[in-house]
């Protein structure tokens, strides 16, 4: 495989008085899923359109595997993309939609049937695409992106309109593509969607990159090393742990939040002093929280900001919560903050 | 719902309020799409801009080679009511006092082509249907002055005509040695009465003409005139080509009986309306007297004059509005999009959720669209009239006058035509739901029939007329500015601004189509899933 990267370098673009891109710069590497996150209107879609040569940037350049998109021969064999799943002629069947796309890359019908199977669309492929649900259109969009078996994949909000089952399928699917050594760029305005899927994150706001970091680092930075203890004898536990050098705070629901000690250490200390406890768990910050901390300044739209705060998306965040290794389980409770 | 409404008055008021809000919503929708506002205004501007196309010119060459526009050949002869008239014939006349009469017997009427002016057709066809000769009482020898006349014609029998537009039939059949026609005119003050007779014994009164402010002394006598022959040889989308030739009529009169003429009068021959313009029919002619018989030869016509006739609209008030077609297409596109845009991206669901009574949504759209196009069309039509008149005058062409009310109908009618056509487009758009197909359908039903019946001119007249009676293109009838005259052989074609239906009747046909389309659209909108 070529050096399959996406390089975005100093993109600037204005739409009238609005600055859409303000020096957008980042690189996407192969073998991992890169999340492209930011509030609505941060410039994610515009960046992707510029990468695909659909929009012209006022300044800067975007290269795919080292070349501008327009110069790629049979571009879908270099980059597969999904921008807008609704962008198809409703009266054409899904299979025929993929067929013309395949023909544009010199591919045949066999490849079309292969991607239909990959996307799980076999039963509906000959129906008019206009009658598809949003989730099915997303699958069709994925199939189209996979058509050229490209080393680079780029998806704009692929989780939109998908049911939970579909979201799980999509996550696994994108992960497996990355494990095959492909470059996968997935944009989203909901960090929770990327949880446990993205290895790397490019976080943007107001047309430029705020953070370009691996997911693990971001989470570690946001989590601190806090441990939650549930016990029937809080005063004893507090005394024991404070003596060991931890800072202990009592939560409103009776649990204790312990900072400065690892979970294993807390368990062994309480065990040694025979303080009863029902649960000890290491607190993991969700990506959501990490992201909100980062983008608080960059959020352009107060409304979007408010919607991303509790109690809004905390439900899905909890649903997709990270099961911690070992017996300790993290719960994505907002109270942990 | 019924439980909440206590008094019927409340229900009506609430209803009215909700409809007013709906209108407001649709108006906001319309004005906030820049393309639609621009399109509508562009439609108005197009109506005017077409008059920037250079038109014909009238005039001759000056000695230095520069064209001189205007001049006597371009001026119109105006009749007593201010309308344009043709008044050129050969007149053999004597003065007549406030009371008197003239009686003659006509024994023949023949046609001929002046020497060197034969169109290569058999001379027998030189007598035109409206070649005319007879007796006339005329205010003066000035062209355009008031008159009343009894005459025999080429193929329309005996007629009494006065003041150019009035025409009453008398005895039918052709005049000949064996079937002579007796004609009589009697004057009493402002009133002239015409009689005819087959034998000079039994007289029938044909008509009574009142000629206001007729001078005490008028000219009375014999006349002959013949319009030119014309035949359209080919017509196509690229215009029509025809050939014509001036013709002469010659009539023989005897038993001439003049009463109460001033003593000492003698016959004088005058060529009326002789215009030194080769383009006009030269009203040459003369008379011969031998024994009791007077033979008079003349060409020209005594009739109303209408603009066009040569495939152009020079001098026609209606011609200034021909840009309506261009403006109409812009308006139709906007009107269609006003509804089809709702279907394209599912906006109609939002609209119908906001106001679930679907027919009212359509009605509100129709009212907003109709009002907007009417209000844009009104000033556009008015300015088009002004610029068109100015253009014609700059080219030396005189406008054929029309009454103020006709001008008003032309302006208001053009705006109304745009408005109703826009509503029709709305209906068709709501039924078809696809922008491009709907625009094509709308243009096909409004503009194409006119095109097929008018400029294309492949259809025989009958078929063309039915197209303009039955299709929405009948609406263009509202732009007819000049009446038709039975006594004037003229090609009353769409190209010359004539339609088979009367102005308001044709407009009513368009309205009917718009109502049908809107009704169908409302039915479909209610039946179909949004």
């Amino acid at each position: 495989m070529l050096d399959a990267t996406i390089e975005v370098n100093g993109l600037r673009k204005r739409f009238g008085p609005t600055v859409a891109l303000d020096g957008m710069t980042f690189t996407v590497h192969p073998g991992q899923v890169t999340g492209f996150v930011g509030p609505n209107g941060a410039g994610k879609s515009t960046t992707m359109r510029v990468i695909l040569g659909l929009d012209a940037a006022d300044e800067g350049a975007a290269l795919v595997s080292g070349r501008p998109y327009q110069t790629l021969h049979r571009p879908l064999t270099h980059v597969g993309s999904l921008l807008d799943a609704a962008a198809l002629q409703p009266s054409r069947s899904a299979r025929n939609h993929l067929l013309w796309l395949a023909h544009s890359q010199g591919l045949g019908a066999r490849r079309v049937d292969a991607v239909i199977e990959q996307a799980g669309l076999q039963s509906a492929a000959r129906r008019k695409a206009g009658g598809y649900s949003l989730g099915m259109r997303q699958r069709l969009g994925i199939a189209a992106a996979l058509l050229g078996d490209p080393p680079v994949l780029m998806m704009d909000e692929p989780f939109n309109g998908m049911d939970p089952e579909g979201i799980i399928w999509m996550r696994g699917f994108l992960r497996s593509l990355a494990t095959q050594g492909r470059t996968v760029l997935v944009s989203s305005h909901l960090m929770s969607e990327l949880q446990d899927m993205a290895d790397h994150l490019v976080i943007v706001g107001r047309g430029k990159v705020i953070a370009d970091t691996s997911t693990r680092e971001l989470l570690a930075a946001a989590s601190g090393d806090r441990v939650m203890v549930r016990t029937s004898s809080a005063p004893e536990a507090t005394a024991v742990l404070a003596r060991a050098g931890a800072i202990v705070a009592a939560d409103s629901d009776g649990a204790l939040t312990v900072s400065g000690l690892a979970a294993e250490k807390v368990v062994s200390l309480l065990g040694a002093k025979a303080v009863p406890f029902s649960e000890v768990s290491a607190h993991h910050a969700t990506l959501e929280q990490a992201y909100l901390e980062l983008t608080r300044d960059a959020a352009q739209y107060r409304a979007a900001d408010a919607a991303a705060s509790p109690p809004g998306p905390s439900g899905p965040a909890g649903h997709g919560g990270t099961p911690a290794s070992g017996p300790s389980a993290a719960s994505g409770q907002e109270a942990a903050r | 719902m019924t439980a909440m409404l206590t008094r019927p008055g409340d229900a009506v008021r609430a209803d009215r309020d909700s409809f007013r809000r709906l209108l407001h919503a649709e108006w906001t929708k319309f004005r906030t799409v820049r393309g639609w506002v621009i399109g509508t205004i562009a439609g108005g501007l197009l109506i005017i801009a077409v008059n920037l196309i250079p038109g014909g010119q009238c005039g001759g060459m000056q000695a230095n080679g520069q064209p001189s526009l205007g001049g006597p050949g371009c001026a119109l002869t105006l009749g007593p009511a201010g309308q344009a008239v043709t008044d050129s014939f050969y007149f053999v006349h004597q003065p007549m006092g406030p009371a008197g009469s003239i009686t003659v017997r006509v024994t023949s009427l023949t046609g001929s082509y002046p020497p060197g002016n034969s169109p290569g057709q058999p001379a027998a066809s030189a007598l035109q249907p409206w070649s005319k000769a007879g007796i006339i009482i005329k205010a003066s020898t000035r062209p355009g002055s008031a008159y009343a006349a009894m005459m025999v014609t080429g193929s329309h029998g005996v007629r009494m005509q006065w003041d150019y537009t009035q025409d009453t039939p008398g005895l039918g059949g052709a005049v000949s040695q064996t079937t002579p026609r007796w004609l009589r005119l009697t004057r009493a003050g402002d009133t002239v009465t015409g009689y005819d007779s087959a034998d000079g014994a039994r007289w029938a009164r044909i008509g009574v003409a009142t000629l206001p402010r007729l001078p005490a002394t008028v000219q009375a006598g014999l006349f002959a005139a013949s319009p030119g022959s014309s035949s359209v040889t080919s017509q196509s989308a690229t215009g029509s080509s025809g050939s014509g030739a001036s013709a002469q009529a010659t009539a023989a009169f005897d038993r001439v009986d003049l009463r109460r003429m001033p003593p000492g009068s003698r016959w004088r021959g005058t060529s009326i309306g002789a215009v030194p313009n080769p383009g006009n029919q030269s009203p040459g002619g003369g008379y011969r007297q031998s024994g009791g018989t007077l033979t008079v030869t003349g060409s020209g016509d005594i009739a109303p004059s209408l603009p066009g006739g040569d495939g152009g609209t020079a001098g026609s008030v209606a011609g200034t509005e021909v840009g309506t077609f261009a403006g109409l297409i812009a308006v139709l596109v906007v009107a269609t999009m006003f509804i089809t845009a709702e279907f394209r991206r599912g906006l109609i669901r939002v609209t119908l959720t906001a106001s679930p009574r679907r027919s009212r949504v359509l009605a509100a759209k129709a009212i907003v669209l109709g009002a907007v196009t009417f209000l844009v069309g009104l000033p556009a039509a008015y300015i088009a009239l002004l610029t068109g008149e100015r253009k014609e005058q700059a080219g030396g062409i005189s406008m054929y006058p029309v009454p103020v009310l006709t001008e008003l109908r032309l302006i208001v009618g053009t705006a109304a035509l745009l408005a109703v056509a826009a509503v029709l487009a709305l209906g068709i758009g709501a039924a078809i739901r696809r922008g491009a197909a709907a625009v094509t359908a709308v243009i096909a039903v409004i503009v194409l029939p006119y095109f097929f019946a008018g400029p294309l001119a492949v259809l025989p007249a009958g078929a063309a007329e039915w197209l303009l009676r039955l299709t929405p293109a009948a609406g263009f009838s509202i732009q007819q500015a000049y009446p038709r005259y039975f006594q004037l052989g003229f090609s009353y074609t769409p190209g010359n601004g004539y339609f088979p239906l009367a102005p308001w009747a044709g407009f009513a046909v368009l309205c009917l189509w718009a109502a049908l389309a809107l009704g169908l659209a409302g039915y479909l909108l209610r039946r179909r899933d949004a």
């Binding site: 359109r49 962008a87 069947s93 890359q105 189209a144 | 038109g55 492949v458």
Partner: protein, 280 residues
Amino acid sequence: MSQAPPAQRACPAEMSRASRASMRDALHAEWTKARTLPGNGWLHLAAIALTVAVSAAVAAAVRCPSGHCAEDPAKISLTGIYLGQAVIAIVAVLGVSTEHSTGMIRVTLAAMPRRATVLAAKAAVLTCPVLASGAVAVLGSVLAGRLILPGHGIGPGHGYPDLSLTSGPVLRAASGSVLYLTLIALLSLGIAAAVRDGAAAIGIVLGLLYLFPILGQVAGTGTWHRHLDQLAPMTAGLAIQATTGLHSLPISPWAGLGVLAGWTAAALLAGVILLGLRDA
């Protein structure tokens, strides 16, 4: 779209091979697109049916009992083109405008980033079916004229030329009408690519076609009228249908078709430039 990156320039032979391949792919893709749009077949059928029906109706309406009318039998039997072209224009416009209205143009341009190539492929894919359905429509119309007109005093028995494709002028009128329809389709394609919206595009196309002869009436019979006839896409283009009275035409048959070709070229050029300049 001015970026042709100097760094990436491959050797010319390789470039041309690649661009030939991408043109071939684009043609294949656009053909599949046109083929799988169910409305297209119906529109072609409608174009044929309307053309033949109007031609036959006009042929049936024309009467020339004296046998001395200045009628051109070829022109009469091809009258349906005046209406058929509107349907062909819809086919052409929809081929572009639906992509814009659905947003599918982005998918297309992501798959085929060479925009001029896309438009060229669309033009080529449009041309073939229009040539075919145009040929059927014209043959049907001529056949109808041949069957109907002699019964109405316009036929070989009345001194008119036989409506047979073996006669040079008739062949020119028939084949020229097919070419005319094709040029109208391409003109519509160019305009649709330039203005993107289907309704607006079809309005402009039909305005361009039908308005000139109507507005020509303002210009009277003077030289301006003649100039308008020489410049108008429809009147000039359909000069090709004339088989009699060629000397009185405002423009000679092939030159007239050339004028239409000029309009078409201008529209396509505008389409290519605007498609290239605009963000998709």
